[in-house]
């Protein structure tokens, strides 16, 4: 009931309201390719968003592969300088040495990957805007 009264009151516009309506009234603006421009920008954003992650992964992987391989080579060399009795006899802490070397390289790769992914996403965002 209250809402009906409010709606009725809104409809009962006086002469001043009509004058303001005529003052505020403006000619419709022709589209003139406006909607097409917006749709083109939306489509471009959709494509950029779809491509951002795979491209960032590929670029990140390509850049990270060299330092990652260097780390792996260094880790394998480290194993060769470990005394033979350590490598052969106490088999319980040899896996720890390998584990440390591998996890170190993985951490470094993860850091490289994260940084590159972040840069890629920020770049994609900048392109979108």
């Amino acid at each position: 009931m209250t809402s009906k009264i409010i709606n009725m009151a809104e409809k009962l516009r006086d002469a001043e309201d009509r004058m303001l309506e005529s003052l505020f009234a403006s000619e419709p603006i022709a589209d003139d390719g406006f909607s097409q421009r917006v749709v083109r920008r939306i489509r471009r954003r959709i494509w950029i968003r779809r491509l951002a992650l795979p491209v960032a992964m590929v670029v990140g992987g390509a850049i990270a592969i060299k330092p990652a391989s260097q780390i792996l080579v260094a880790a394998s060399k480290l194993l060769t300088v470990v005394p033979q009795d350590v490598v052969v006899k106490p088999a319980e802490w040899l896996p720890q040495v390998q584990g440390i070397a591998i996890s170190g390289s993985l951490v470094q790769m993860a850091i490289y990957g994260t940084v590159l992914l972040g840069v890629g996403l920020l770049g994609a965002r900048a392109l979108t805007d």
Binding site: N7, M19, S26, I29, A30, D31, S35, V38, I42
Partner: protein, 195 residues
């Protein structure tokens, strides 16, 4: 609401209501359906922003931004109010964000000593032809202007304006009343109801 995918757009676009097109755009990321929504409402959105931003080129840039934001947030449109009311809400938010950004930019320029440039720019703007509506809008605050434009130019109900601005209906009514009072006193308009 049933959505049949992009193929269903073959029917005449005018036969479809806004909510159907919104559902189509959300469900299948259909940019053609959203394009139809833009075609339908671009005039109102651009007129609204032209009245707020004064510079038509800036207003059109803001309109594009507003439609891009609308696309990003389309799934948040509940279908409760009119679509144009929701669009104007997005447009108004875009305008306020741009205004805040340009204010910060002006502050940075000010600090860097570019005041002279800004002054010459405002002089150019002042020297342009000023319409009756511009004079009328000049006496209103930014909020009053937006609400008066939504009410008198876009024909939104008080409730729709409340939804768009995040203000209670009572506040919307009092802002409109205050705006009318300002216009009346500034332009010495007699109360039309009493001649």
């Amino acid at each position: 609401m049933e959505v049949h995918g992009a193929g269903a757009i073959a029917q005449p676009a005018t036969a479809r209501d806004d909510q159907y097109l919104v559902a189509l755009a959300v469900a299948s990321q259909d940019t053609a359906a959203f394009g139809e929504l833009i075609r339908r409402h671009q005039s109102q959105v651009r007129n609204f922003l032209r009245k707020l931003a004064a510079d038509p080129v800036e207003a059109d840039d803001l309109s594009q931004e507003a439609f891009l934001h609308a696309w990003d947030k389309l799934q948040t449109y509940s279908g409760r109010g009119s679509f144009i009311g929701w669009l104007l809400k997005v447009a108004y938010t875009t305008f306020l964000q741009a205004k805040r950004k340009s204010k910060r930019y002006a502050e940075v320029l000010d600090e860097a000593g570019h005041v002279a440039d800004m002054e010459s720019r405002s002089y150019t703007e002042d020297s342009q032809e000023v319409s009756d509506l511009d004079k009328l809008l000049a006496v209103l605050s930014q909020e009053e202007r937006a609400i008066m434009v939504m009410s008198y130019a876009c024909g939104l109900s008080h409730r729709e304006i409340g939804d768009a601005t995040g203000l209670p209906v009572g506040t919307v009514k009092s802002i409109i009343f205050r705006g009318k009072e300002k216009i009346r006193t500034s332009f010495d308009i007699k109360d039309h109801q009493h001649g």
